[in-house]
């Protein structure tokens, strides 16, 4: 159930892929050519920014045309021997059941010149001799090291997804997931991720987790624009980095407000670290980071910032020792949501505190603890007595309503009470503390 949406909603058919329709048609046409024997250029190089649908279109094409897909990507070893064994074999023989085959060499620009020694030459040779269609992908086709590959292939460009393609697609996903997301919110998410569908889906999943509705305002909390990686990637770095140095990079990755970054880590640490030993360490590191943030606020000593950031990234990363591996989705910081949800309630309570405080010679903060619970109790049990107290306090309609009292019609109160009430009101709304009248 908790699978990443990028996996769960990965398109299986070409028609399901958002955007780049003409490009996809080009691939289909080229595969069509293979029916009559190898065309002049025996390989395609699909290039474009991440998350535009390169890999997924190859997978969907193979699925639709019932091709046996052999896939090599950056996580596989790709030196000469390894490529010969896998791709070499695949490009010469057909499938055991006589099915046609399609070879995908993903992320060719990720070839490492020293570790994957001879890879580029090998690929060029294999592409020239191949008996089956080969498709390669790259983010940056102009990388000098893959120059020879460029010359041996037909290049096809994938473009960033625009709003027109992405938004209707996302709407469908939201419908399937049973969440209602404002169109404006979807547009914002697409914009922020510069049309990168993978990170759009990640953000969307994080933002909607555990809720039925997502508004534009809630989405703006994500707060990053010139984004380099999503907050999702940054958090993943914090919770999976094996070294301090690597974890420390998380704050540079996501261009989120630093306070917000802390909230994300703080929210997700107990979800990501499922062993009490690890969690205890991580929470201590976060508490320590919080302390540094406070010291910075107080003294304006910004040179302390690295300590805070290192504790909340590396400090948390190094806490992970006994946690059992699991894929747990990241959650939006609930605390921020709660604070905004309860803002009105807190404003009313503060007003109640001030009203009580003005009458009972006590600060509003203490009035809330020393008086409010009793007043609530009395209101609940004895309406007449409760009404008398509410009148005496001179509460605003909002506050009275909050306490569950229907405001008394004006004609019932005497003129004196009305004046009293008005005065109490101005007293409670005044920003400056006023002289308190003693009631005897």
């Amino acid at each position: 159930m908790n699978a990443p949406w990028t996996v769960k909603h990965r398109p299986k058919m070409l028609a399901d892929i958002a955007g780049n329709k003409p490009t996809i048609q080009q691939i289909l046409d080229w595969l069509e050519l293979w029916e009559k024997g190898p065309p002049k250029k025996r390989a395609l190089l699909l290039h474009g920014p991440p998350g535009t649908g390169k890999t997924v279109s190859v997978e969907a094409a193979a699925n639709e045309r019932d091709l046996d897909l052999v896939e090599i990507n950056a996580s596989d070893k790709r030196n000469r021997d390894a490529l010969e064994k896998t791709v070499g074999l695949a490009t010469r023989q057909s499938d055991l059941f006589g099915r046609s085959r399609l070879v995908l060499i993903d992320e060719v620009d990720g070839i490492n010149l020293s570790e994957d020694r001879g890879a580029v030459d090998t690929i060029v040779r294999l592409v020239e001799d191949t008996q089956v269609p080969v498709i390669l992908t790259a983010n940056d086709p102009w990388d000098p090291k893959i120059g020879p590959i460029r010359n041996a292939t037909t290049m096809i460009e994938y473009r960033r997804l625009g709003l027109r393609d992405a938004v209707p697609y996302l709407k469908k996903i939201c419908q399937k997931e049973g969440v209602e997301v404002e169109e404006q919110a979807l547009r914002l998410i697409v914009d922020r991720n510069q049309g990168d569908m993978r990170s759009i889906m990640n953000d969307l999943q994080v933002l909607t987790s555990g809720r039925k509705k997502l508004t534009y305002e809630e989405t703006t909390w994500l707060g990053f624009r010139d984004r380099r990686a999503s907050i999702f990637d940054a958090l993943k770095t914090v919770f999976t980095s094996p070294t301090c140095l690597q974890a420390r990079r998380a704050t540079d990755m996501a261009n989120v407000d630093l306070d917000m970054f802390f909230e994300w880590v703080y929210e997700n640490a107990p979800r990501q670290l499922n062993d009490p030993r690890d969690l205890s360490h991580a929470m201590s590191a976060l508490a320590q980071a919080d302390l540094y943030h406070v010291r910075i606020d107080r003294t304006r000593a910004w040179e302390l910032l690295p300590y805070a950031l290192e504790m909340e990234t590396a400090g948390v990363a190094m806490s992970k020792e006994f946690t059992k591996p699991a894929w747990i989705p990241m959650k939006f910081p609930e605390r921020i949501q709660l604070l905004s949800r309860t803002r009105k309630k807190r404003a009313i309570e503060a007003e109640l505190g001030r009203s009580i405080g003005a009458r009972c010679h006590i600060s509003s903060r203490r009035a809330i603890h020393h008086y409010l619970p009793y007043i609530k109790y009395i209101l609940e049990k004895n309406a007449t007595e409760g009404d008398r107290i509410v009148k005496w306090l001179g509460l605003s309609e909002d506050a009275a309503e909050y306490l569950g009292v229907t405001p008394t019609p004006a004609e019932e109160s005497t003129v004196v009470e009305k004046v009293e009430k008005k005065r109490a009101k101005t007293r409670t709304t005044a920003a400056k503390p006023r002289q308190k009248k003693k009631t005897v």
Partner: protein, 322 residues
């Protein structure tokens, strides 16, 4: 309009009506007689009569119209240097033309003022000594900076004796025609822990049911007013459900508006009795002490307290596995 809260309605008006804090009251009476007084610092727990004593003193000094020469500020509402520099100064610098040559400014909960604001206050106290006397009240005198302490006569208020609480409550019950049973009175007295405001509020809450007040009624009101949240919080954390514990903590802080310091104080008082390894208790106490200090420095209440809960969850899991 007559006061609707009994704690206000029955607040003593003159010093002679105060029945407890005898030593303090006697010294204050002398100030009223001689019409002379120094700056004062009232230190003591909530509901022990600090504000009442200040109001009564002002009344005895200035008579019915004491409001003209009297200003009460709640330092925790109106804290900060600007208030000290403006409101307080405005009030303090203008002399009165009356028999008593000074005004009284009461700063309640002065221990909630920042050190900077206290230093600003100290200068103001010095400069306007001729025209204004300050009465600072606080729970802990230790939180008041030394220079201010040294400029004040210090009065220590103690929690009310059980008989004093009983006597007050009984009088109010009679005047309000409330039937307070003997066990009800005993329960009320013991639950109040020497806090008269709490005793009177509990009495008023209990009376709203309109039936004789017995032990049961008293405990119902007390329970409603202060649910056992901290115990529940600790139980959840001890079971290892950290996320739920944090949620609970969050609701206590945000929705109920409890202060992190109060929650910490209650957690701390439970540590020694917790079913966790003895060695872990020492670690927890150390962590609590550190967190207390951090909260004073202004650290995030939820972040700090939840790190304590994570410690507790760990300690409990160790107990379970051993």
């Amino acid at each position: 309009m007559e006061s609707a809260m009994w704690s206000e309605k029955y607040r003593p008006v003159i010093l002679a009506e105060m029945r407890n804090q005898v030593d303090v009251v006697n010294r204050l009476k002398r100030f009223a007689e001689t019409k002379a007084m120094p700056h004062c610092l009232f230190a003591g727990p909530p509901g022990s009569g600090k504000t009442t004593a200040a109001l009564c003193l002002a009344h005895d000094l200035f008579g019915e119209r004491f409001m003209d020469a009297f200003l009460e500020l709640n330092a925790s509402d109106a804290r900060g240097i600007d208030v000290i520099r403006t409101t307080v100064k405005e009030f303090a610098r203008i002399a009165t033309i009356s028999e008593v040559p000074f005004k009284i400014l009461v700063l309640d909960e002065a221990d909630n003022m920042t050190a900077d604001a206290q230093h600003a206050l100290r200068r103001t106290m010095e400069r306007y000594t001729d025209t204004c006397r300050f009465v600072l009240s606080c729970n802990y005198s230790g939180r008041i900076i030394e220079p201010i302490q040294s400029r004040c006569a210090i009065f220590r208020f103690v929690p009310l004796e059980a008989e004093d609480v009983s006597a007050y409550v009984k009088i109010i019950a009679e005047k309000e025609h409330v039937h307070l049973t003997e066990p009800g009175l005993r329960a009320l007295t013991s639950a109040s822990e020497g806090d008269l405001r709490k005793a009177i509020n509990t009495l008023q809450g209990a009376s709203s049911l309109g039936k004789p007040i017995d032990e049961k009624v008293v405990y119902e009101v007390v329970g409603k007013a202060k649910p056992d949240d901290v115990q529940e919080l600790l139980d959840v954390a001890a079971k290892g459900d950290f996320l739920k514990a944090r949620e609970k903590l969050r609701s206590m802080l945000v929705q109920q508006g409890l202060s992190g310091k109060d929650i910490l104080k209650q957690i701390h008082s439970e540590i020694l009795r917790m079913p966790i390894p003895e060695k872990s208790k020492i670690e927890l106490i150390d962590a609590a002490g550190e967190i207390d200090y951090r909260l004073i420095q202004g650290a995030d209440e939820e972040v700090q307290l939840s790190s304590l809960l994570a410690h507790l969850a760990l300690a409990s899991s160790q107990k379970r596995s051993s």
